[in-house]
């Protein structure tokens, strides 16, 4: 009963419909946008369609329990198939099959017959050795009519098929281990930030991030400099992490994942200052946050005291605030002072260069632009199941190659007594390759046997 159940689980009647079901489920995961907010489904697909999507979990299909169940059934099928069909075919492959008589060999699509000098025993042994040298497993079966030699090639196809099935299990095991014991998250680093990783004795510090551009202004690289620190804060190694060039250290990998502008900060701002009595274009100056800059004139300094990336006035408090972290409406608060005397103080905006305050002392400042201060998004991941995935890749690749490109070849050679110290050799062959493809190899093998027998007879 159990054996029948295992046979059924591992049968093609289960695997083909199962593959079709998984295909359709995966297809729905491609068609239905994944991971959107629920409200967005109702907005874009009003009515019963969005209800079906949400209730069946089609919005996150690849992490639904029933998709895991389908994958689980597939895994069980692969195990059952490996235990039944694969092991059986491997065992059967080791069995020696003999034909009844030379006529059976002659009926095969690839067959030939020729005479050779010598007695049955000598010729049979010569043929056996010649075939063994070509890595064929040979078994002799003498009887009253002569000797039959069954020669079979290495059963690489069966081994390949078993490896293919095992590789799927390796993928499963790797995936399960990584899901259960691994970790994956994105950490946003500002320059100087230090982060810890769960169950990892080291810490990692970001020493900087830059976006490199080519002459045309297109992004050519994102580079984060990361330093691994020991538990006592000693520097262990420093690496510039780029997309495709992660930092791997002691089982944890750090990938360049994303970047963005830091809210409330910038590297350097460009400002156009109009002083009383200066020409109509004013003069350009650069300033950093909270770093006073000397302006022309006696003890006149300019300081940017605040930066807001998406400026609004909060209606309740009446204070300046940021609506979001996005640089939708960048603004800086600038003050120009001379000793204790404030010559200018006010907000100025990149998007609205004409909207600025003009002080009673005749100063005016326009916020021309700024070089943003970026944070870098580093994906931190630990995948203890990865070695299994690599085994899976290797097994499946080898398995496919063995299945497709190393076909079976079986030869049956009958050596029967002929006239005057001659024997009649009848050779029949079969292969899992097509007859036409095998015919060339068969002819070559037979010619080679004839040559070996001729040389053996001379010596």
């Amino acid at each position: 009963m159990i054996k029948r159940f295992i046979n059924l689980l591992g049968s093609v009647q289960v695997i083909v419909p199962l593959l079709i079901v998984i295909t359709f489920v995966s297809l729905s995961g491609v068609i239905v946008p994944q991971g959107m907010p629920v409200a967005q489904y109702f907005q874009s697909m009003p009515g019963w369609r969005s209800m079906v999507i949400i209730n069946l979990g089609l919005d996150h299909i690849f992490s639904t329990w029933w998709f895991y169940v389908l994958l689980g059934i597939l895994a069980v099928n692969v195990v059952a198939c490996s235990l039944t069909h694969q092991v059986r075919s491997l065992r059967n492959a080791g069995l020696v099959r003999f034909l009844h008589n030379p006529q059976d060999a002659a009926k095969l699509k690839c067959s030939t017959s020729f005479e050779a000098d010598g007695d049955v025993k000598t010729v049979s042994d010569t043929i056996t050795h010649a075939m063994q040298r070509r890595l064929f497993f040979c078994t002799q079966k003498p009887d009253e009519n002569g000797t039959q030699i069954a020669a079979r090639s290495l059963r690489l196809k069966e081994i390949g098929s078993l490896m293919f099935h095992l590789s799927i299990l390796f993928f499963y095991v790797g995936g399960i281990i990584s899901t259960m014991a691994g970790l994956s998250f994105v950490k946003e680093f500002k320059s100087g930030d230090v982060a810890t990783v769960e169950n990892w004795p080291y810490r990692v510090r970001c020493d900087g991030f830059k976006v490199e551009r080519n002459a045309q202004g297109d992004v050519s690289a994102y580079k984060s400099t990361l330093t691994v620190l020991s538990p006592d804060s000693a520097k262990i190694l420093t690496k510039v992490v780029e997309v495709n060039h992660p930092l791997a250290f002691s089982g944890v990998n750090f990938y360049q994942n994303s970047y963005g502008e830091q809210s409330g900060s910038f590297e350097v701002a460009s400002l156009q200052v109009f002083a009383p009595g200066s020409d109509s274009n004013g003069y350009m100056t650069a300033a950093r946050l909270n770093s006073p800059v000397k302006l022309p004139g006696d003890s006149i300094t300019m300081t940017i005291s605040r930066f807001i990336s998406d400026f609004i006035i909060d209606m309740q408090s009446g204070e300046a605030a940021s609506r979001s972290d996005r640089p939708n409406n960048p603004a800086v608060k600038v003050a120009i002072t001379k000793g204790a005397d404030t010559l200018y103080s006010g907000w100025t905006f990149v998007n609205y260069p004409d909207m600025h305050q003009e002080s009673k002392k005749g100063y005016k400042v326009v916020f021309v632009g700024y070089e943003p201060c970026y944070y870098t998004g580093i994906k931190v991941s630990r995948n203890p199941g990865n070695p299994f995935i690599w085994f899976g890749f290797t097994f499946m690749t080898l398995g496919i190659l063995l299945v497709f490109y190393f076909p079976h070849r079986n030869y049956w050679v009958f050596v029967c007594p002929g006239n005057a110290r001659k024997v009649i050799v009848t050779v029949g062959g079969s292969s899992s390759r097509s007859a036409s493809a095998f015919q060339a190899e068969f002819n070559h093998r037979c010619e080679s046997l004839k040559r070996v027998l001729k040389e053996g007879a001379k010596s």
Binding site: V12, I15, G29, S184, N244, P246
Partner: protein, 277 residues
């Protein structure tokens, strides 16, 4: 030589290739009723000229952009058509079936039509995610596998024609027997399946792990490729274990190739991690 004139030379080669492939189709259309060997030979010569022109276009583009042209849909479809034409010559040499060649030539021509409608702007600066030697391995091997699937699809088309037409039909009598067509489709799949598995799935997964930190992300293109792989796996499994040949096998194989095309064009609609151009 400035960039614009280099691009003009490349497009000139592309359009000459387009014309050569369309000429090949015209010859094959004439070959159907007339069945003259010289017409089929002319079609093959036109395919050869098309291949040469397309090779020159791709080399010119590579010189122009300083990296292999594998980053957008136009470049991929050009490579796909180029590999399919290479397979055309390989299978024509082995099987010498002009009608199979005709179907491949038509499919290549359709790919060129699709390519001609896509934006052809060259990406001079590769985005950081694509700056990896895995780009060449992943894209070219996957494309080579899909080109082999195209040959199987061409054999499937002829199979359906042979089965669908009356046995007394003159055209049906000129088609190869169904066993030969079934065997050609199978042979092409045995070439394409390992290439697709290694190129599209494994190389892609290894690259994804290196670039994004996970082998698999359930991205639409990844899922599409998995679907294609599952259908071809079902085809091979059914063939090995249950001895499926003939119509059922041809339907599975043709479905898989249709999914291959859908997966390719899905980028235009679904976006995702593979939407580079």
């Amino acid at each position: 030589m400035n960039i614009l004139s280099q691009q003009n030379i490349e497009f000139t080669f592309f359009w000459w290739a387009f014309i050569a492939y369309s000429a090949s189709c015209v010859f094959y259309v004439a070959y159907f009723p007339l069945s003259k060997k010289w017409i089929a030979t002319s079609a093959s010569i036109a395919m050869g000229l098309g291949l040469l022109m397309q090779t020159l276009a791709m080399v010119e583009r590579t010189i122009h952009i300083h990296h292999m042209p594998l980053t957008n849909m136009f470049e991929y479809i050009s490579l796909f058509a180029w590999f399919a034409t290479c397979f055309y010559f390989i299978f024509m040499r082995i099987y010498k079936l002009h009608l199979l060649g005709a179907v491949i030539a038509f499919t290549v021509f359709m790919l060129m039509v699709a390519g001609s409608l896509l934006p052809k702007d060259a990406e001079m600066q590769l985005v950081p995610a694509l700056q990896s030697y895995w780009l060449q391995i992943h894209v070219s091997v996957a494309s080579l596998g899909e080109a082999a699937f195209l040959v199987a699809f061409a054999a499937n088309i002829l199979y359906f024609l042979k089965n669908g037409l009356s046995k007394t039909s003159r055209f049906a009598s000129r088609l190869p027997d169904v066993q030969t067509l079934d065997r050609i489709a199978y042979k092409a799949i045995t070439v394409g399946y390992p290439l697709f598995t290694i190129g599209a799935l494994f190389a892609g997964a290894i690259w994804a792990e290196q670039a994004w930190g996970s082998f698999w992300s359930w991205d639409p293109k990844e899922v599409g490729s998995l679907i294609v792989w599952l259908i071809y796996s079902a085809y091979l499994h059914a063939r090995f274990v249950k001895g499926w040949t003939g119509t059922r096998a041809a339907v599975l194989s043709a479905t898989a190739f249709t999914c291959t095309l859908l997966t390719f064009f899905a980028n235009l609609i679904l976006g995702g991690l593979h939407a580079y151009g």
